[in-house]
C-alpha cells in the first residue's frame, strides 16, 4: 500500500451545545491515498463535513472539542499546527469545494477578487500575474470567456458556472488534497452530470487526491476509486468502490445502496432507512448501528466492533459481516 497523503487516527470531535456535548465524529482510522478519489458516504449528520472541517481546522474554536489524533497530512500532524501555518496550507495544499456554489461566493465582490487574491497570496505573485493565472484556472474548468467571468458578480452566473468557478479556485494552486463536500447536491440533474464529468476529466490533469463527500452513493459510483462509509461519526466500512457496491460487508452499507435514487426520482421519494433521525443517537453500548440493524444479535448490543479486514483493502466494523 502506498504511503497515505492523509491519515486520520483515533479522531474524536464533539460540540458544546445547549443540551450538552454532542459527539459528531469518532473515527478509528481513515486514509486517503495519493491521487485517488475517495468517496466519503453517509446519511446527513453522519459527520462527513465535520471530518473535512477538522482536517482544515475550520471548526468554531470555542464550540468544537477535538480529541485524539494525529491527523497526518504528508506525515505532519495538522492538529499540532499553528493558525498561521494552517493558513498557508488552506487553499494551497488542501483545498475545499462546498455544497452550494451560490452562497460560497461573496455576492458583493466580482468572482475575480477572491480568485486572484488567493493566487497572489499562495503563489507569491503580483496581482497582475495572479490575474493571468486566474484566467488559466477558469479555462481549465472549461469556462468559456474567462475574461468576462473574472469581472462578473456571482448573481450574473448560473449555478453550474459558479460551481466551475469554485472548482477552478480550488485547483488554482495545485493542491495535494481536495475535499469536495457535496459539490453537486445543490445543482439540478443535468448540471450535476456535467460537474461530475468535469471532475472525472480533471483528475487526469491534476495530481491531487480528492475526497468526494456525498450522502448519495450513486453519485460517486463512477468517479471514486475507493469508498469510505460513515455512520454516526464512525467510518464503518472502507474498500475499493467495486467491493463496496457488489460485496458490501456492513448492513448499513447495504441499506445505503438500496437508498440510491434512480434518475428522475426526487429526493423526498427516497426509500428512507428505517429509524432514520436527523441527529443520530448513539446507544450506550455495543455497535452504534445495532438499534437499526436487521442482522443484530445479542453480541452486537455489547461489544463495539472495530474495522477488521474482509478482503484485500476492504475493511468493515461489524460483528456479523456479510
Amino acid at each position: 500500500m502506498p504511503e497515505a497523503i492523509l491519515e486520520i487516527r483515533d479522531l474524536k470531535v464533539s460540540f458544546r451545545t445547549f443540551s450538552g456535548r454532542v459527539q459528531a465524529v469518532d473515527i478509528q482510522s481513515l486514509a486517503v491515498l495519493p491521487q485517488e478519489i475517495l468517496g466519503l458516504v453517509g446519511e446527513t449528520g453522519s459527520g462527513k463535513s465535520v471530518t473535512a472541517s477538522t482536517v482544515l481546522r475550520l471548526l468554531p474554536e470555542r464550540k468544537a472539542i477535538v480529541e485524539g489524533g494525529p491527523v497526518l497530512f504528508k506525515g505532519q500532524d495538522l492538529l499540532a499546527k499553528t493558525e498561521a501555518e494552517m493558513r498557508k496550507i488552506r487553499g494551497r495544499e488542501i483545498a475545499m469545494i462546498f455544497q452550494d456554489p451560490m452562497s460560497s461566493l461573496n455576492p458583493v465582490f466580482t468572482v475575480g477578487e477572491p480568485l486572484t487574491r488567493i493566487i497572489a497570496i499562495h503563489q507569491g505573485v503580483s496581482l497582475k500575474e495572479a490575474r493571468e493565472r486566474a484566467l488559466a484556472a477558469l479555462g481549465r474548468v472549461r469556462l468559456p470567456n474567462p475574461d468576462k467571468i473574472l469581472g462578473s458578480y456571482p448573481h450574473e452566473l448560473s449555478g453550474g458556472m459558479r460551481q466551475r468557478v469554485m472548482i477552478g479556485m480550488a485547483l488554482s494552486s495545485n493542491p495535494d488534497l481536495l475535499f469536495a463536500d457535496e459539490p453537486t447536491t445543490a445543482l439540478d440533474v443535468t448540471i450535476q452530470a456535467q460537474i461530475l464529468r468535469l471532475i472525472d476529466d480533471l483528475r487526469h490533469e491534476i495530481k491531487a487526491s480528492i475526497v468526494f463527500i456525498t450522502h448519495n452513493l450513486g453519485v460517486i459510483a463512477k468517479v471514486s476509486d475507493r469508498v469510505a462509509v460513515m455512520y454516526a461519526g464512525n467510518v464503518i466500512e472502507v474498500g475499493p468502490t467495486r467491493d463496496i457496491f457488489h460485496r458490501p460487508a456492513h448492513p448499513y452499507t447495504g441499506l445505503l445502496l438500496k437508498a440510491i435514487p434512480r434518475l428522475g426520482e426526487t429526493r423526498d421519494k427516497l426509500p428512507v432507512i428505517e429509524g432514520a433521525v436527523p441527529v443520530i443517537r448513539r446507544p450506550e453500548t455495543g455497535c452504534y448501528f445495532h438499534p437499526r440493524c436487521p442482522r443484530r444479535d445479542d453480541a452486537c448490543r455489547e461489544a463495539r466492533p472495530v474495522l477488521a479486514p474482509i478482503g484485500p483493502g476492504h475493511y468493515a466494523a461489524c460483528g456479523k459481516p456479510a
Binding site: 482544515l56 475550520l58 494552517m86 493558513r87 498557508k88 496550507i89 488552506r90 487553499g91 494551497r92 483545498a95 475545499m96 462546498f98 452550494d100 452562497s103 460560497s104 461566493l105 461573496n106 455576492p107 458583493v108 465582490f109 477572491p114 487574491r117 488567493i118 497570496i121 499562495h122 458578480y153 448573481h155 450574473e156 469554485m166 479556485m169
Partner: protein, 338 residues
C-alpha cells in the same frame, strides 16, 4: 444604474412636495394670528388687516400654497416674523454652525462606532463585546443634556481643559478677525491659515461634538455588530477562511462590505435629523445653530421661519436618501440589477 437612480430621484421629489404640503397646512392650522404678531401687540385693527394683505394671508389657502412654492424655488423663503430678515438669510447665518457640529459629531460616531461594532461581532461574547455593549447601550440611553452637563463638569469645571460653550473665545475673535468664506469659523480659519482661530474653534467644538456623537455612536455600533454577526455566518466567509485568507481581510473587507448597508442608512438619517434637531445641545453649549433658530421660531409661531427650516431639513433628507441609494448601489451590485 441610471434608471434606478432616476426612479429614486423622482421619488425624492415627490416626498419633498408632499412634505411642503403637509408643513404648509399645519402652519396654517396653528391657532395664532401671524399678522398680529408681525405688527406687534399695540397695532390697530387696520394695521393688522394691512399686514394680513401684505403677507398674503387674506387669499384662499391653495393660492397661498401656490404662491409659496413659486417663491420658494425662486429663493424667496419669506421673511421671518421674529427677526424681520429673509428666512434664507437667517438660515445662511445659522446653518454653518449646525453643519460644523453635525458633521464633526457624525465623523466621530462613524470612526468609533463602525470599528467598535466590527470588533464586537468578531469577538462575540468575549470581554470586548461585553464592554462595547455596555458602552453603546449607555451612549444610546443616557439623556443628551445629562451627557452634556457631565462633560462640561469634567472637562471645563474640573479639568479646565476645554471651554464650556460658544464657538470661539471673544478675545480671540477680536484679536484675530476671520475672513468669512463659508461662515464656519473652523473651515474659514483653515482655508485662510488662521491657526490661532482654528485651534480655538476646534477646542470649542469638541464637547458639543462628543455630546452629539453619543447617540448615533451607540446606534451605529449596535447596528454594525448585528449585521456583521449575520454576515460572518455566511458560507462565503467560511470559504474565505478555507482558502487561507487572514481574519483581518475577511472581517474588514469581505464581511464588512456586505454588512455596512444598514449602517449607512442610519448615518444618513441621523445627519438629517441632527441638523435642526440638536436644540438641547446648542442650548447647553451656547452654540449658534439652526436648532436655536427653529426653537425660537416655534415658540414665536414664526411660520415662515418654521417652514424654512422644515424645508431645509426636507431637502437634506431627500438629498441624503439619494446619496444612500447611490452608496448602496455601489456596495451591492445586486441592487442595480433589481
Amino acid at each position: 444604474m441610471r434608471t434606478y437612480l432616476i426612479r429614486r430621484l423622482l421619488l425624492g421629489v415627490l416626498v419633498f412636495l408632499g412634505l411642503t404640503l403637509v408643513t404648509f397646512f399645519i402652519a396654517r392650522v396653528v391657532p395664532s394670528d401671524p399678522a398680529a404678531r408681525w405688527v406687534g401687540p399695540r397695532a390697530t385693527v387696520e394695521q393688522i388687516a394691512r399686514a394680513r394683505a401684505k403677507l398674503g394671508l387674506d387669499k384662499p389657502i391653495h393660492v397661498q400654497y401656490g404662491r409659496y412654492m413659486a417663491d420658494l424655488v425662486q429663493g424667496d423663503w419669506g421673511t421671518s416674523i421674529v427677526t424681520h430678515q429673509p428666512v434664507l438669510r437667517d438660515i445662511k447665518t445659522y446653518l454653518p454652525a449646525s453643519l460644523e457640529l453635525t458633521i464633526s459629531g457624525m465623523i466621530l460616531a462613524v470612526i468609533v462606532g463602525i470599528p467598535l461594532g466590527v470588533i464586537s461581532a468578531a469577538h462575540k461574547d468575549r470581554a470586548v463585546d461585553h464592554l462595547s455593549r455596555a458602552f453603546s447601550i449607555g451612549a444610546v440611553s443616557l439623556p443628551t443634556f445629562w451627557v452634556a452637563m457631565v462633560l462640561q463638569l469634567v472637562f471645563f469645571g474640573y479639568l479646565r481643559l476645554l471651554p464650556v460653550g460658544g464657538e470661539l473665545d471673544l478675545a480671540i475673535k477680536l484679536a484675530y478677525p476671520v475672513h468669512q468664506i463659508t461662515g464656519s469659523y473652523l473651515v474659514d480659519s483653515l482655508i485662510t491659515g488662521n491657526w490661532v482661530v482654528f485651534a480655538n474653534a476646534l477646542l470649542h467644538l469638541i464637547l458639543p461634538a462628543v455630546t452629539l456623537a453619543a447617540y448615533p455612536l451607540g446606534l451605529i455600533t449596535r447596528m454594525t455588530r448585528s449585521s456583521m454577526l449575520e454576515v460572518l455566518n455566511e458560507d462565503y466567509i467560511r470559504v474565505a477562511r478555507a482558502y487561507g485568507m487572514t481574519e483581518r481581510r475577511i472581517t474588514y473587507l469581505y464581511a464588512l462590505k456586505n454588512a455596512i448597508g444598514p449602517t449607512v442608512t442610519v448615518i444618513a438619517l441621523t445627519v438629517a435629523y441632527s441638523l435642526a434637531g440638536t436644540f438641547l445641545i446648542e442650548a447647553v453649549f451656547n452654540w449658534p445653530g439652526l436648532g436655536h433658530y427653529a426653537a425660537d421660531a416655534v415658540l414665536a409661531a414664526d411660520y415662515p421661519a418654521i417652514m424654512g427650516v422644515t424645508i431645509l431639513v426636507a431637502i437634506f433628507y431627500v438629498a441624503l436618501n439619494l446619496a444612500v441609494d447611490v452608496v448602496q448601489a455601489i456596495l451591492d451590485p445586486r441592487i442595480k440589477a433589481a
